[in-house]
């Protein structure tokens, strides 16, 4: 809402020294968000005067028609000046605004006397746009009247300040100069004579003219409906300059007197108005629902709109003629010949208008106001004011008013008089409470408990808490003291929260850089990742209104986002990349439909829902576990003076997963796996506590190609929630054995198909509890071992808790380990 300060001054007797900044400051403190204070023509300076066109000579020898004008700007400004002008919308005798040499117009446009089109142009005749007053550049500004030599800047309101206010949804009344003026008056402690409660004098309706009949078909849509009629209106009548200037300053474009007056009164009082051409109406004008099978309506913006049965509409005997409170229909619009004006002022109910506007994706000045709630009783006052202006400037005969109104009884809110004090934490006595509520416009009864009737322009005041806010904001939020509440002792982070933080640190410690990618993906990503149809990762929830049609799904895996991020880093010249993310993925349960349920449970909010209702709500949601993932490409260790670098491999991916798990106290085991999107021969399933919790390894070459990544890019992804579930609740302490250690190395020859981890497992099991470590330290394939076999060398460490082991004990344990590997995997001890 843009509010010119001079308009506010008309309603509130502000001291002259109070400027717009001071007003803005007080309004902000009172809860109106003043976003900016603008000065009209703030960048115009120098001489700007009213001139009269005395003569026009048409110059025709140029590509476009040019006028050589003689303009009288008054003796003190040099009398008659010759000025060249390209516009043609003025005539001899018209008053215009002339920028004299020395003036500077917006865009640092300096006016000088200069030769052009064969003449010396001694100034410039200005258009609105050149002065920064609007976008109207069809022609120069022709003034309604004027005195030659007068200051043009003052006349045009240059230097006038305008407040731009962002109105919150609860303060619909502030979408009017009247509403803002009330706040200004309150803020400065000045009296306020509310123009919205003043019924202006209109002439008695003409005896030979009838008002236009009206009605309301659905009182749930409309509480108050009025029509005033003026006959014999002059459609060519001009809008007065002062009204045009206020409209422009308020951000509206002047159109014609009838339209301008409806807009002007809406800005002034907050009541949207609509003018019909009586000649185009058929029978009574009524408000109601569109109902079934209403034909499409063409609205003022020349859009044909299919109507929903629940749309709030205006109709006459010909059918629907407008979207009530949103936009009028094209076919009953006033035009250049309209002389019979029927002026609608109504109070439509907020929610149906909001729904109608939303359905048609049509937010108008009117709908913005109705959605927030228009003054319940204002309509006849506002239409009287509009009729007064129309009659004054457009002539015609007043033909009277018709009205329909549902019964109105202002609500009464019972509030403890000390509630503002108890809520704010500062002393606010009863008298202060009453005083401020009266300033807001409330009527108050009662003593310890106040019975408060909010004014009709404050439909937002429904609860005691709403009244508390009014009182406290007028006392001043800045006067609230400050105190720290004493929370009871807390338990700190939950185990999951703590472990998730640890996992993030572990990932960073492993050299991985955390990024936060958008959780959106497309079917294309799943195809690119070679995810099979029917696989769990295909059960992705779908957005009804995605930002991009390519990414309508919620991610079921972190990899698409990370692969895109890796790609972006590569494109920025970063070759060695280790990036990762911890975030939620979203998976539909088998019994959840991607489109959701038809009738989701929506329990009331007046009380706590039952446990069954809450469970039904929870059942709507997809599963949303935290995942941890990383992608690595390029050097894991860089080339340097120490020697060559080392590219990241499948082993790094597994090691990162494993070290994160270790930091959380979980041992994970790698098992050969072939799952997408990984290389089927270079991928491990990560197993914790017997459950597969993720995968790590080299990406499948086709995946790498699709995402244009370097060959051998590796990745890992694991279900962090599952990993944390495998962590100990309370970690047990180890036996730290202090007896001497015995070290033995063995080399076992096994078939290549046998997994090294399985051989190690067998050795460990066979060697028994004296064996504290089995570590593989070499893998050999070559002439020393049979074709299709390899030799695995293990370092074993033996130690007892309570004694030095004898050579016999050590040998027996070692042989038992070898024997178990032989039994399970056909391993043969090498080199003995």
């Amino acid at each position: 809402m843009r509010v010119p300060l001079e308009w506010l001054r008309e309603m509130v007797d502000l001291p002259a020294q109070v400027d717009a900044r001071a007003v803005a400051e007080r309004l902000i403190a009172a809860g109106l968000e003043v976003e900016s204070v603008e000065t009209a023509g703030g960048d115009v300076s120098g001489p700007l005067v009213v001139g009269r066109v005395d003569a026009i000579e048409e110059l025709t020898e140029f590509k476009k028609p040019i006028r050589w004008c003689q303009v009288d700007v008054g003796l003190e400004h040099g009398g008659v000046r010759g000025i060249v002008c390209g516009a043609r919308n003025f005539a001899v005798g018209d008053h215009v605004v002339v920028a004299l040499p020395g003036a500077v117009l917006p865009g640092d446009f300096r006016i000088t006397a200069r030769e052009t089109y064969g003449h010396v142009s001694d100034g410039m005749i200005c258009s609105q746009r050149e002065l920064g007053l609007g976008d109207d550049h069809d022609g120069i500004m022709v003034l309604d009247s004027g005195t030659v030599g007068d200051d043009g800047a003052a006349l045009l309101g240059l230097g006038e300040e305008t407040l731009d206010i962002a109105v919150t949804p609860d303060r619909g009344y502030a979408l009017s100069v009247r509403g803002v003026a009330r706040e200004v008056a309150t803020a400065f402690g000045l009296p306020f004579d509310d123009p919205g409660q003043r019924l202006v004098d209109l002439p008695a309706p003409a005896a030979d003219a009838a008002p236009w009949p009206c009605g309301v078909e659905d009182p749930e849509m409309c509480e108050l409906f009025t029509l005033r009629r003026i006959i014999g209106f002059d459609p060519a009548a001009a809008t007065p300059g002062w009204m045009e200037r206020r409209l422009v300053a308020s951000g509206m474009r002047p159109v014609s007197l009838a339209v301008d007056v409806t807009n002007y009164v809406m800005l002034e009082l907050g009541q949207p108005l609509h003018a019909f051409d009586g000649a185009k109406l058929r029978g009574a004008v009524r408000a109601g629902r569109a109902g079934e099978a209403a034909p499409p309506l063409e609205t003022l913006d020349h859009v044909s709109r299919a109507l929903d049965p629940d749309d709030v509409v205006i109709r006459d005997d010909s059918g629907v003629i407008g979207l009530a409170g949103t936009m009028g229909g094209l076919h009953t619009e006033i035009d250049d010949d309209s002389t019979d004006l029927v002026l609608e002022a109504a109070r439509f109910v907020a929610e149906p208008v909001a729904r109608t506007a939303r359905r048609h994706r049509l937010s108008s000045e009117a709908s913005r106001r109705f959605e927030r709630g228009v003054d319940r009783v204002l309509a006849p006052y506002a239409s009287a004011r509009a009729a007064q202006l129309l009659l004054e400037y457009g002539g015609g005969v007043y033909a009277g008013m018709t009205a329909w109104e549902s019964p109105y009884s202002p609500p009464v809110i019972a509030m403890d008089a000390d509630l503002p004090q108890r809520t704010s934490g500062m002393p606010v006595d009863r008298a202060t409470v009453v005083h401020h509520l009266e300033q807001v416009g409330c009527e108050i009864m009662g003593d310890a408990v106040l019975d408060v009737s909010p004014p009709p322009w404050r439909p937002d005041l429904t609860d005691p808490a709403d009244l508390v806010e009014e009182v406290v904001r007028l006392v001043g939020y800045d006067r609230i003291p400050s105190r720290l509440p004493q929370a009871p002792a807390g338990y700190g982070l939950t185990r999951e929260q703590r472990l998730r933080r640890r996992a993030g640190l572990a990932l960073a410690a492993a050299g991985v850089v955390d990024v936060l990618t958008y959780p959106f993906m497309g079917e294309g990503d799943l195809d690119a990742l070679l995810v099979a149809a029917g696989e769990r990762r295909r059960r992705a929830p779908r957005l009804a209104n995605p930002l991009s049609e390519e990414q309508p799904l919620l991610r079921t895996t972190l990899l698409p986002g990370l692969l895109h991020a890796a790609r972006r880093n590569l494109s920025r010249g970063i070759d060695d990349i280790a990036l990762g993310e911890i975030g939620r993925v979203f998976v539909l349960d088998d019994d959840q439909d991607p489109g959701g349920v038809a009738e989701p449970p929506r329990p009331g909010v007046e009380q706590r829902p039952s446990d069954a209702e809450l469970a039904a709500i929870e059942a709507l949601l997809p599963v949303q576990p935290h995942h941890l993932a990383a992608v690595l490409t390029g050097a894991r260790e860089s080339r340097g003076w120490w020697g060559p670098g080392r590219e990241a491999t499948w082993a790094d991916a597994i090691e990162i997963a494993s070290s994160v798990a270790s930091m959380l106290g979980v041992d994970i085991v790698a098992r050969p796996a072939t799952d997408a999107p990984f290389h089927p021969g270079r991928t491990a399933a990560l197993v914790a506590d017997g459950e597969v919790i993720g995968f790590a390894g080299e990406l499948h070459p086709r995946v790498i190609a699709t995402y244009s990544l370097p060959a051998r890019t590796v990745a890992l992804e694991l279900d962090l929630d599952a990993l944390m579930a495998a962590a100990h609740d309370v970690a047990p302490a180890p036996d730290v054995r202090t007896q001497p250690v015995a070290k033995e190395d063995i080399a076992l020859v096994v078939a290549e198909s046998v997994a090294a981890a399985d051989v190690a497992d067998a050795v460990r099991t066979g060697a028994g509890e004296l064996c504290e470590e089995v570590r593989l330290f070499d893998v050999y394939v070559g002439p020393q071992v049979p074709e299709g076999h390899r030799s695995l060398a293990f370092a074993l460490r033996f130690r007892a808790l309570d004694r030095t082991l004898s050579a016999e004990e050590i040998a027996a344990a070692r042989e038992a380990g070898v024997a178990e590997a032989a039994r399970r995997h056909g391993a043969v001890l090498r080199g003995t």
């Binding site: 406290v472 509440p485 919620l554």
Partner: protein
């Protein structure tokens, strides 16, 4: 000590005469002093302290002396041998130090050579910042509450007193999951966690809730459709706006330094009443840039204040939806954008840096903000 010339015994063993012993010591000391390296000192040690050294041989002669002279001669020779050994050890130690100094100098390397072989990891600064803010509250006894990102409309809107036709529910702002009527949205705010906390926890409740939220805004320098908020909630007996103000002042001091002012401005949120916008005094210029074109401030655009978040007293309607007795309990809630906080606290000028996953961005922050 006996005087060297005491003539009490005619049996003379010449090598045990004081003069002879002194001469042996003198010779030994001279050789020790002239030993120039560890090899030479080894030879000298053999010559003067070895089994066949003059002093060792002299020592063997002691047995031949009359008992009365044995003690004195033993003492004399013992002392002489000790003197020689001490001199040898001292010389050895000095030669070793000289050798070490020489060798260690020869072994020296260029420690300014690069040492980092693999890239450093880092956490995302938004994550770290959220944790840090949460820690301020945990120190006051708050716990961290969480909720799902794909959230029921009932939690995200209905129970937060966002009426069915509130603009926030429209397609312009909210991502709908499944369909517009499915009852599931991507949460547009962390406030649904308030409800979840109130439904799940015993009173009194003090929680802080960081999390990811979603709005259908296009990505640009100051907007991103996926961003983060941190929310606080206190529900207790006698909670007032003064408690809210004090708590926010504490957070501001913890995040921006002691003495940074905050300001509450009346505003509107459906789930709080009264509601306020939370402004932070510019922690860079502390307001000194206002009306002072000589010293403009980029952080606050010379406004003196930075919009930080929203807050208010929990609307009793919300408390009722959670089954809380509004006659007995009241609460406050607040929330702020984490991206915004990171932007003005750390001078990030383009929000795209936070979401594009360029590893240089996160890496610049390490694991602390």
């Amino acid at each position: 000590m006996s005087a060297p010339n005491n003539p009490y015994d005619p049996v003379a063993v010449s090598t045990l005469e004081p003069e002879a012993v002194d001469a042996m010591v003198a010779a030994a000391l001279a050789d020790i002093e002239s030993a120039g390296d560890l090899d030479e000192i080894k030879v000298v040690r053999l010559a003067h302290a070895g089994d066949r050294s003059p002093l060792a041989l002299a020592n063997r002669e002691i047995g031949a002396l009359p008992p009365a002279a044995k003690a004195e001669a033993g003492k004399r020779v013992g002392s002489a041998r000790q003197t020689v050994r001490d001199a040898l050890d001292a010389r050895l130690a000095r030669l070793e130090i000289e050798r070490d100094a020489r060798v260690l100098v020869e072994e020296s390397v260029d420690v300014t050579l690069p040492t980092r072989r693999s890239g450093l990891g880092a956490r995302h600064p938004l994550t770290t910042l959220m944790e840090r803010m949460a820690e301020v509250f945990m120190a006051m006894g708050y716990e961290v509450a969480e909720g799902p990102e794909a959230e029921a409309e009932w939690f995200n809107f209905d129970a937060l007193n966002v009426p069915p036709d509130h603009p926030a529910r429209t397609m312009q702002d909210t991502f709908f999951v499944g369909s517009e009527r499915s009852g599931v949205v991507l949460r547009t705010q962390t406030s649904p966690i308030q409800l979840r906390a109130m439904l799940a926890r015993d009173l009194p409740i003090y929680v802080v809730a960081p999390g990811r939220v979603f709005r259908t805004d296009e990505l640009d320098a100051t907007h991103t459709p996926v961003f983060h908020q941190i929310e606080g909630l206190a529900v207790d007996e006698g909670i007032t706006m003064a408690d809210l103000k004090g708590t926010l002042e504490h957070l501001a001091a913890a995040m921006f330094g002691e003495g940074v002012q905050i300001r509450l401005r009346p505003s509107y949120f459906p789930f709080t009443e009264p509601s306020a916008e939370l402004d932070l005094q510019c922690f860079v210029c502390r307001g000194a840039s206002v009306g002072n074109p000589e010293a403009p401030c980029r952080t606050c655009s010379s406004e003196g204040w930075i919009e930080w978040g929203g807050c208010g007293m929990v609307n009793p309607r919300v408390l009722r939806a959670a089954g809380i007795d509004t006659a007995r309990y009241s609460g406050f809630a607040f929330g702020m954008g984490v991206e915004r906080t990171l932007m003005f606290r750390h001078g990030v000028t383009d929000m795209r840096d936070m979401v594009e996953g360029d590893i240089r961005f996160s890496r610049a922050f390490g694991v602390e903000v």
